[in-house]
């Protein structure tokens, strides 16, 4: 293991890294607005026109304002949410392989979405009206919340949440949600099956302002509240007993962390479907570079998560244009080998 650096040195490094990530994020956002299959060059003109300065070509305006901009915001928010949730889970479980899926939010969201796709047709359309398009995301959000809540209730006894029970119950509930999903998949028609497959691969192509208005406040609230967990997560990393001596209530921390993850990841999955690997890779990568202090880890994870998903989205648009790859394929295809490479290079550092 490398010689531990003085904390001040590390903090400076983390701050500089944060600045670098901010600059990169701005650059990648500009790239994301600029890049696309359809020709629309006048990005600034459209933005100026929306601010009331001058007029823009309606076609450009549509492509940039209604297609690329909501897509950019969605990718950035979801990337940040997944990375921050991953960081929180890894800190809470003191396990570098923990990810938001551990508390059941992904499996539950998946079940909700599958139920909406397969059974949605049974609901009277007149009852739902225009809301029927939002059925899948809402069901995904509720499914994620519900399964997280059930899991948490199971693992909590007399006000104490056992991490081991949480993990084991998570496996059991995962099997159960998997079985229910399987029943629905078996019942699904041919075209529903194809919808399911694509939903599971994740995509930001369906982004719209209407969806963002509903989901973005939840994600933003989660991102803003996450830094408040930093001190508690640092303390817990020394063990729960030590944390109590440091004045941190581990039960309260667990409760808040799980609510935060369920909310942000539930909303993210509802927006884009399942996107893997960002939640594991991003915090891991940052910890190798800047150490484990959550005060810096959480904001930098939000930035790097946003950058990662924006870049993945840019790739997904370009590789087979004018067609598009589902973004979950890109994050897994790039994230997997990259993660392995990091692990092999830094074996000594991650040996726990």
């Amino acid at each position: 293991m490398a010689a531990p650096r003085p904390a001040g040195d590390r903090h400076l490094r983390a701050r500089l890294l944060g600045l670098g990530l901010c600059a990169t994020l701005i650059g990648v956002m500009a790239l994301s607005l600029h890049l696309g299959a359809a020709g629309a060059s006048d990005v600034l003109g459209v933005l100026a026109a929306k601010a009331g300065l001058g007029v823009a070509d309606p076609r450009d305006s549509l492509i940039i304002w209604n297609i690329r901009l909501p897509r950019m915001v969605t990718a950035a928010l979801v990337g940040a949410a997944l990375a921050v949730s991953g960081t929180v889970m890894q800190g809470l479980f003191r396990n570098p392989l923990a990810d938001p899926g551990l508390v059941g939010v992904s499996a539950g969201a998946g079940l909700g979405a599958v139920a909406a796709i397969v059974l949605g047709g049974l609901l009277p359309v007149a009852l739902l009206g225009p809301a029927s398009a939002g059925l899948t995301p809402v069901a995904a959000f509720l499914g994620g919340w519900l399964s997280t809540f059930v899991l948490y209730r199971i693992a909590t006894q007399g006000g104490r949440t056992s991490v081991a029970t949480l993990l084991l119950a998570g496996i059991a509930l995962g099997a159960l949600t998997g079985a229910l999903t399987g029943v629905l998949v078996y019942r699904a028609s041919d075209s529903q099956l194809r919808d399911l497959t694509f939903w599971n691969m994740g995509s930001v192509a369906g982004a719209s302002w209407a969806k963002l208005v509903v989901a973005a406040p939840v994600i933003l609230a989660g991102l803003c509240l996450a830094p408040a967990l930093a001190r508690g997560l640092d303390a817990v990393s020394l063990g729960e007993a030590v944390a109590v001596h440091l004045g941190v209530d581990p039960q309260r921390l667990k409760r808040r962390a799980i609510v935060l993850v369920a909310a942000t990841v539930g909303a993210s999955v509802a927006l884009t479907g399942g996107i893997g690997f960002v939640g594991i890779v991003v915090p891991h990568l940052l910890r190798l570079v800047q150490g484990p202090a959550h005060r810096f880890l959480l904001p930098n994870a939000a930035l790097l998560g946003a950058i990662t998903l924006l870049l993945a989205d840019c790739l997904s648009r370009v590789v087979i244009a004018p067609a598009e790859l589902p973004i979950g394929i890109v994050t897994a295809a790039l994230g997997g080998p990259f993660f392995l490479w990091i692990l092999l290079r830094n074996r000594a550092l991650v040996d726990v």
Partner: protein, 289 residues
């Protein structure tokens, strides 16, 4: 040339020009058909050279393969569609997702949606619908009438019987057969070819079936797709007959297998012809050897 003649020629030319202009104004110059049947209809109506791109399901006629591919018809991205600057989009039933269609509608682009369904009436309706959208109503009318005649001829032939009992196998996944029930393109083409789909009463859509269900259905003939040009996708017949349940059916005992082109499931302009072809193959396979 006399003055009068010159004036007449000029007048004629300008009238012709105006006519051409008018025709051009009606006919969309850049067509994007989404879905294999939609694409085939556009080509059958003679507007193939106006097609600017294709989706990944459109593989016929062969010249579409050189066009840009905007992706899978159920998973279109708005920007991908806009990037080929269509001025008419023809959507086969099932094209989507709804969010993309909504955004495309917001651009003011004309979107024409074909009806789904697997019977001759649907084919004729779709021909006329596309003909109207392309400004080619007379051609569409002619095509619809000739198709109707072929369908009628086929129906006469079918009415005389026989009606072989057929199981359509979409795929053979390690010995588990995915077969076509009611409400599928496969069921539609079997019906047109005068066959009885042995799974139509049991299932809707494509389903993995148990060995016992296969034995009980007891088909005389098995029909599978023939992925012309993609041999890696053709499940080998030998594997199929190794399925113990299938081997116990009349079809298995005679190893009666008929293959049809994947396009037969699409219900495009070649449907009648393909159904007639399938009928011929089925009768040949049903004849005692």
């Amino acid at each position: 040339m006399s003055r009068k003649l010159r004036a007449a020629v000029l007048a004629l030319v300008s009238v012709a020009l105006v006519c051409v202009r008018a025709a051009q104004a009606q006919e969309p110059a850049r067509i994007l058909p989404v879905g294999d049947a939609a694409t085939e209809f556009v080509f059958a109506l003679g507007a193939g050279d106006q097609v600017v791109a294709r989706d990944s399901t459109s593989r016929f006629p062969p010249e579409v393969l050189s066009l840009p591919d905007i992706g899978y018809m159920r998973q279109l991205s708005p920007e991908g569609v806009l990037s080929v600057t269509p001025d008419l989009i023809l959507l086969q039933a099932g094209a989507g997702p709804p969010e993309t269609l909504q955004q495309l509608r917001a651009t003011g682009l004309p979107l024409v949606t074909l009806e789904g369904g697997f019977d001759p009436a649907q084919v004729l309706d779709n021909i006329r619908l596309i003909g109207a959208a392309l400004g080619r109503a007379p051609q569409a009318d002619a095509l619809a009438r000739s198709q109707q005649a072929v369908f009628a001829q086929l129906a006469d032939m079918v009415a005389q019987g026989p009606h072989p009992r057929v199981m359509f196998v979409l795929s053979d996944q390690a010995g588990r057969l995915n077969v076509a029930g009611a409400g599928t393109g496969a069921d539609g083409i079997l019906r047109l070819a005068g066959a009885e789909n042995v799974m139509a009463d049991a299932y809707t859509g494509y389903r993995l079936v148990s060995d016992e269900a296969i034995l009980q259905a007891a088909p005389d003939i098995v029909v599978m797709l023939d992925h012309t040009g993609r041999p890696e996708m053709d499940a080998p017949a030998a594997d199929l007959w190794r399925n113990a349940a299938l081997a116990g059916t009349p079809a298995g005992q005679r190893q009666a297998l008929v293959r049809i082109a994947p396009a037969a499931l699409a219900f495009g302009p070649r449907t009648a012809e393909m159904a007639a072809h399938l009928r011929h193959d089925l009768l040949a396979a049903a004849a005692p050897q």
